[in-house]
Subunit: 322 residues, 6 copies
């Protein structure tokens, strides 16, 4: 999607200037992974026009493979992000109906070819929610990924502006069993899986059991104001009887841009899963990635592995590096 | 529509910043008329969101009445305008499919109420071309306008990116007979009415006869490059046997922004029709309005009557006013 | 007034770029009221030039009626606002001497016509302080408003850069008796009315008695730094023996722009007075409006009723709305 | 004066951003002279505020001595410059009434001290026209300059927005006899001195005779449009019977900013008078300085001697210097 | 190199804002080729820092392969480009001494690996001129390219700010014999090869003979001012007795940015050499590419094949594409 | 040095726009002193190009004398400053190798002339660390200053990106004995002088003894995050047995720009040393200057004496000044 952000703290509809960046849950994850040093590919459908060409150029500039992006359809999704501050929340206006991806067909993607040589497949419930077609494509892709032996991570990411809770629940019931790793949080789990076992740990064990998951990760955001959040995460590693971990906690204020924080977390988690034996280290890396994202304008976590590792290991004092 | 223009001469998809203004054929005409001192109202359908609220605020700021704008639907049309220069033409990317106006219904507008107290109705073929619904609405509106005794002006404004020539021709055949004033140009007349009688004057007389028009006006643009145009107009006043006028000619270079030039002309023509007895003066005023528009960023001709009249009467020397 | 704000945190006299917006106490209130859904008109005198035309266009864009703005005189007031931060206060440089409004005459305004159909008149001590003429005009207007049975609200808003305390006190003595609603705060009351009865409540009761006021409202700002304030308000409703209310309190940090916070409060109070029976709700709405303003660039509180009501009812957590 | 220029080609009152620079006839000349390598001082009165501090900092940054600028009064002059293009002229809105300079008094300036060590005094009719006080100050200064044996250059620069022709004529009659060098042009000479002898040369000889001038210089601007001018100059050197010279002519298109072109010319003329024996060279240098100015944003000709000399000697081909 | 361009027409050292893009002769060619649809790789040495990472991201965003860019050294070259206008030429300030590339060593590049699968090698005299090391690297690379049977194109591009004519001549004598295609122009040929045979055709035949070239191409720029150039090219195809072609000529005014025009030409020539049988078509394509570049900000010709082909076939009228 | 700061919170290498200001330790001190009202001169070597001309113009604009700046060499140092936020530290990329100053020679400066009439010499270890030449120049200058009886203040300011600890220690051993005033902090003292006596006071007494210092000042920064610091200072006045003072402490959040905070402190200390008898007042003034700097964009503390004095005396509440 093209993201249009009013300059300064101007409101949508009253701003003379929009800053143009590109974003979207899975592409944010791909861009972040590529910068961390992983090989990442982003698959979607984009129209044949200059705006979409810009999105592809941005993906390439981060080193993301774009070879299997289907081209066609009429338009690319756009979203407007109004930066909030203190008591005023940031606000998103979506304009993504009838985007190329919303109208994409099974024939647009050859998953055998796409998955050749791949080891991990990540997707989110946002893509599943943009249209019936997109939901069908998610089902096809995730089944194929599973078949081919890829690890599958899934972030349900329910958005009320895209679909109703009922529609989302039905879809999640079908999609989640294919996942190995579930990245979510407690309020979403209640919305989407109607599950709350009293403690985060218990809820995570219940999810692991219900969907036969290898790993469940919950992020926790304490939202004191638009500029002031606490942030940490917990994970259940090794299935329903696995070990439970709680990460370091960051106090984030001010917040430059919190959009994409969850995607930065997902990228950090996927990257560290392939990097660290130690589960605690893995979780701390993912949380540090999410914290770092809050300091950067735009959806994408512009950061390399060394920066995230340094933060995870403790250098958050903000001393100038010179 | 929201218009997004890359800063400087950047290309769409490569610009970090877009300037945000609002535009669209009929709303450009309305804004221009209101600034010239006429009472003007703009009727359309816009979604209930902050982007559309901004469009309404802009219309109000020019003094245009917005009381009958219907609200609803999902999105507002967007278009990207890449500023060209010399050998590179400006380029438009439309993203207006399924806009609120494209999906509007007859029930959204109460024309009896809208036309109460009105004397003139102006519309263009762009609106007719955005969707089947919009075409039907144009037919309803123009019939009602005629019935109520309003003067009707029509600019066919064929856009190849909206519909095929065949579709446009069929629509024009139905719409044009309701017009009193036709604002067009020779190449469009050939495209849309398949009519070319060898000279502009003859073609105009043929149009006046075929559609029983009071007045036909043709603009002429000599496009030497994206920044360098000649511009003048001719008119046939008083029906098929009326008198033929040719305006003063302007050499426009450089051109700050030529989008909206035709709409500035239409506004100038409608305004001067109600102001000047003298047909030559009327035509010269309209052409001066169009010339002035080429010096201003954005779709809308930010100009008052005195400025246009001064230019029409000859002060185009560019001496600083101090 | 035209407000010129240096880009970023640049200092006046060292900035290469100014952002141009419009502001002024009463016009801020009018713009806010119109957005909340009330019918609002702004009356002033402005010169016949392009800068002033821009002010009128801005008022119109918010839906404020500008029909009775007198035109004439030589200049429009300008003020420079330097954004402070933490230990550095924001700074205002006024350039409003001899503005059209400062030199306006009684004959510029026909109050009978202006007040036709009106129910409420709001004005501030800033207008009274800009010149002798302006003070006389305030007296004429407020007497006429009272005569016609309008509710009158008054915010003394003493500014040391405009007049001395002695001049202000004299003026206030004449103006305040015409008010029904007094919007002020404890330090101002001491400056202007030389009144401090030990507690806010007692001072408010004394004011209500002295000037026979229906309602007295005090805002309280705890200024910890330029970016970090506490904010709440208290009100005395129903005259000197009325009931005393204390609002919810907001901690505002960071602060995008605190200028216009008091005007947002006044607009919130006037709007809610006509909306809510419940005095506590009324006060909480006004305070929420003021808090919201602190998150927006420019003098004017760009906000609709639903947004303020949502904040008043408790959603200040800053979660992204998507 | 503070100059506020709308970004891009936006119109005053419709621009969200102003670019802030400083300018004014005599200060432009001083800044230009200092950059060319001469010792230059600028004398005026400015208020004690941050906006005026910025003007002084700008003068200093060009190397202009500001030691005798009086401080006091309420405000500094402001002017808005709307950039024109092709058929639309640039437009100036002055807001300089009651500026510190307009209200300055004789006691603000100690001319004995100011002129210590000085050899040349330059002033313009713009300063004389801003107020009665300013006119009196001009008279005092020019008399003192003459007394002390400085060469005096004067540019009448009549501005219809400042005073009437009658007022200007009376003032010029008093001021011009003190001048040694008169910098003007044919239309101004007619306006101000009511003199037109059929040819420029004859008019110049008549002026030299009437006011006993050493040198008269006329600039000629052929204004084809706001972006397209011809520019040259002629001079009469050595009094009424002196020799007549015509400069090289430049075709200037596009024009980045023509404001300050005449001041750049004056600075070029004063500088070259002290540099070149050859009158033709002197005139060509001054015209090249004026031509160069048209390529630069802002009032001030940001250029060193070598650049002007290179242009005067013929390198106007625009080949990139690398 | 990082290119820093003052905003608007500001001068270096007086601008508050620089626009940051990346450029350099060979990388411009590579970016242009990749956009036209060719496989292109850029080889250089860049330091390990964030500024250089940005250069690589930009190359990737255009689809250029960056796999063999060596990393190390202390700094990346920077250049400042001041935009000229009419009589003021654009101006370049280089800051490239001791850049990573200037200090690169033979061991930084494994040419066997770099040239695997490659068919064409393009380089310029700018790289040869930046340091002794760089010159040695050019020699190694071009010999290896020749050995491996790649077509070699060479643009001597003499820059007086980098080396003396004597140094350049010596270097060219060694480098040119390895070239198959020479891209130059008449004044450069005189500077670098001390050759002028009276007509361009004769000079080109002499060059072809002297260095045994397959093809010689000369561009011709008629520089009327910084904004107004004529541009065409001629070529000698098939060696010293080959056929001589002259391209279509473009009048370019205004010029948005002429830097990179020659690189756009080179890319056009290399691309069309592999695309068109017809030599005239090849030459016209290359000239159209250069003309198109003049309309775009930044060093790089942001354009696809279809746009260049359309211009080459004649659509330079600048009509808006909608 | 030219300082290039990415717009907003963009990262170096990903920003489309850089803001251009000038900075550097000693020049920051000079600019600050000149604004406070002291006579200040800055001595360095700069190349003869437009970028360096801009640095000189900036110094002049603050009133700093630039008469003894040597011109020559190839380039001026550049540094990129990436603004951090909360957990992400600001980041500096230096590009100052082979700058004119790094290659300057003894013959470039005539210290007898430079120090004529001077009373104080301030320098930092940053200049000493940029090259061997610069270190030699520091030694020459400081000896000469001592000889001439100037007070010498020295801030070791060790930067790991410029030299190793071993190199720095050796240099400091030679330079420090010439100082009268040492401005440092505890961690730097440990790095550079290998000294830590358990308490700040004891360490300061040991330094005073070792180097026979009149005064030692330590700043203390408590870095909670990039935007949130505590800041205070302590001083030992009157040599090793002198009295120990601790300043007022400021909580700085948010921080607009912390670069230059130490230089603002040094300027405050030098200024107040010549102004206040009272040591506590002197220290509080210097700390207030440093605190104020954190609220301003750019290296330089844009502030006058009255503003710093007001803050030192307690007005840090951030109330708008109007």
């Amino acid at each position: 999607m093209l993201r249009l952000t009013p300059q300064n703290h101007n409101r949508i509809g009253r701003t003379p200037i929009y800053e143009a960046t590109y974003g979207g849950a899975e592409s944010n994850v791909a861009c972040s992974l590529a910068q961390l040093g992983a090989q990442a590919e982003f698959v979607t459908k984009l129209p044949e026009n200059a705006v979409a060409d810009g999105a592809i150029a941005t993906l390439k500039s981060f080193g993301v493979n774009t070879d299997h992006i289907a081209r066609g359809g009429n338009r690319m999704g756009v979203y407007y992000l109004e930066r909030g501050s203190s008591v005023r929340a940031s606000k998103v206006v979506y304009d993504r109906a009838d985007s190329a991806m919303a109208l994409a067909q099974a024939a647009d993607f050859n998953w055998d070819e796409i998955f050749r040589g791949a080891a991990w497949f990540h997707f989110t419930g946002i893509t599943a929610g943009i249209s019936k077609n997109a939901l069908e494509l998610c089902k096809i892709a995730v089944k194929k990924a599973k078949e081919k032996g890829l690890t599958v991570s899934f972030d349900p990411n329910y958005r009320a502006k895209l679909w109703t809770k009922e529609e989302a629940r039905e879809a999640m019931k079908e999609l989640t069993p294919y996942a190995d790793v579930l990245i979510s949080n407690a309020p979403q789990t209640l919305d989407v899986y109607e599950l709350d076992c009293g403690s985060e740990e218990k809820t995570m064990r219940a999810l692991a059991e219900k969907f036969d998951l290898q790993s469940v990760v919950f992020t926790d955001r304490i939202s004191r104001s638009a500029d002031d959040n606490g942030y940490f995460a917990s994970s259940l590693a090794g299935g329903k009887n696995g070990k439970y971990y709680v990460s370091k906690r960051y106090e984030l204020h001010p917040i430059v841009d919190r959009v994409g924080g969850g995607d930065a977390f997902a990228a950090g988690d996927i990257f560290s899963a392939n990097k660290y034996e130690n589960e605690q280290q893995r979780l701390d890396f993912a949380v540090a990635a999410a914290a770092f994202k809050h300091t950067i304008d735009g959806d994408i976590n512009v950061a390399c592995e060394a920066e995230i590792a340094a933060l995870a290991e403790g250098d958050g004092s903000g001393r100038v590096q010179r």
